[in-house]
Symmetry: C2
């Protein structure tokens, strides 16, 4: 998506975090009833819907990697951050399972979503169970700072939900300012990434300036993450992202590049605004295509408008600026060099990823 033509190398911290977090997560899941535990194992990609173990699976483990590196950034062993890693991943997946119910999405990571397999009731209950379990994981950590870590995660969860509430509200509105959109993103995507980047240091009892630096790092990373998500949602390669071409335009998502262009005014903004107002999401053809333009042509035209008006460039530049600010925050405080370099590698991976 950016200057680098080759696919970004996956930082080894992500693999290490995945390996460390999986057995700990498995242990905690055994506390759930069999049905909920099986549903979570499926959702995490450990099994198929019949419960048969599968290879690989799961997401990119960004949050677990941040949580364990955050403990190491505070001079503690990665182990100290594991409860934070498990808990953050549970909260992340709680939100994915509930999101899929609310959005009616039937596929995630090329597999049927939980509600599509087990129904809405099981999806709601399984999400609820993951959220409750996340708090248990933290509160059973041996760290004397477990209450502060649990409070951080609960606050992040509330802000994540607040972001989702705003996201839903914005869908009903024609005008959303760039500031409002950034505020929504800082909740929906930023809150949990920020908490993940802090939680290991909190569990390790790090000094306030280190925790503050990790907070800035995580918050900036969160915005950068969403900017790249939004770029991939418009210009991502379907073969790599697994999503249809112009995916976010097809669903008429007022993502950050779109909101940027709309906020700039001018001819392109007016044409784009008019297209967003008149074309119905996802069902353009059913609702009668314009005589001149097929739905796909309309999406291609919208993508061109966003690019011509500078939305694509702005989002890519802004993502790099955010990563720069994140990096600077880490350099401003004393921190072991290894974990700092690995945190920065994750930040770069996030803006260079292609899926």
């Amino acid at each position: 998506m950016t200057a680098s033509p080759a696919r970004a190398a996956v930082p080894s911290a992500l693999r290490r975090a995945r390996d460390a977090v999986t057995p700990a997560t498995r242990d905690f899941l055994s506390r759930l009833d069999d049905t909920s535990a099986a549903i979570v194992a499926y959702h995490l990609g450990w099994t198929d819907a019949a419960g048969v173990p599968t290879r690989g699976g799961g997401g990119k483990a960004v949050r677990p990697a941040l949580a364990t590196l955050s403990a190491q950034a505070a001079g503690a062993p990665a182990q100290v951050g594991i409860p934070g890693a498990v808990a953050a991943e549970l909260v992340h997946n709680f939100s994915l399972v509930h999101d899929d119910v609310m959005d009616g999405d039937t596929e995630r990571r090329h597999r049927p979503t939980v509600w599509a397999v087990w129904g809405t009731t099981s999806a709601i209950l399984t999400g609820d169970a993951m959220l409750a379990l996340a708090q248990e994981v933290l509160l059973e950590s041996p760290s004397p700072h477990r209450a502060a870590a649990a409070r951080l995660l609960a606050e992040a969860t509330r802000n994540l939900i607040r972001g989702q509430v705003l996201d839903v509200a914005f869908e009903q509105r024609h005008e959303v300012s760039l500031a409002e959109c950034l505020d929504m993103v800082s909740g929906k995507t930023g809150a949990l990434l920020r908490a993940s980047a802090m939680i290991g240091a909190v569990l390790a009892g790090a000094p306030a300036d280190v925790i503050d630096a990790l907070s800035t790092f995580g918050a900036e990373l969160g915005i950068a993450f969403q900017l790249v998500d939004d770029l991939l949602g418009i210009w991502g390669d379907p073969a790599t992202t697994g999503k249809p071409v112009f995916s976010d335009l097809r669903s008429r998502k007022k993502s950050l590049p779109v909101t940027y262009v709309l906020s700039q005014g001018g001819l392109a903004a007016r044409e784009l605004a008019s297209w967003f107002r008149t074309a119905s999401p996802d069902r353009s053809s059913a609702n009668g295509p314009s005589p001149e333009m097929s739905p796909r042509d309309g999406e291609a035209r919208a993508a061109d408008l966003i690019e011509t008006a500078g939305g694509r460039q702005w989002a890519a530049d802004e993502a790099r600026r955010r990563i720069e600010a994140a990096t600077q925050a880490l350099h401003a405080v004393p921190m072991p060099a290894g974990p700092r370099a690995e945190l920065i590698a994750i930040a770069h991976f996030i803006v260079e990823r292609e899926a």
Copy 2:
């Protein structure tokens, strides 16, 4: 429903707890986005759906009363239990809002449910927000035992959800043993009442024997609560309960009195089992009534069968036995006399209530 002909007097502890918990809850709700805060205020009965303040409202405040009395039982001021009271009430209401979505119930306490007014997405998000906020409330308590209290509540939440998962699973099964049904109830209804009865004492740093006694008290109270709920669900006066006559039979709920009769075997059990198998819940008339019997006649016949086979008497006796065990647990440990008497008064109120 029992020997007392007059309606049971509402213990003053319930009113005191409601008065103490409302302002604290209001303070914490101000952290939510405006939409979620307004939805919670409506759900709690503080406002109508347009946000206009209403008089009274809310439930019986049993959990807040248990939480504050539990602090007093440990010799601490009621104030120490307030974060536990607010948090328990938030978890209780999280589960009600999500339950109404899952059950498709359009009315609660004679008012439209949250999802019926604001839609499923808002109901899921509002429930999620209440659950996250409950943990924040506890973790910001000044008590040095806040982490233990938060862990207790998270565990209770997980067990509550487990009870709901079992409840859903049992609806799909023809045979559920009495032991299985009691296990489900100890999660769905018992877990949070037990945690409420313990949480004030935990926040107060009470000795283990006092906490254990309150745990037994709350767990037994939970089963008694559900037994009375189940009796009211069949024989409650619609004018008092606000539910239709034979409400639980109409929805074919395999409640405790029903499960007791089915587990006893014999003619009545066989006729009852056959009625539960063949009659469709809620839609008997739409699915074609039996030529001999209207749906209402069928429900009356089922109620008679349960009563004749001893299900009604068993449930009433069992509720009293549970309250007796709960009371004995409190008498077995040292505790100030006032809070003990008030806890016991709540227990009696619960079995004597008519709604």
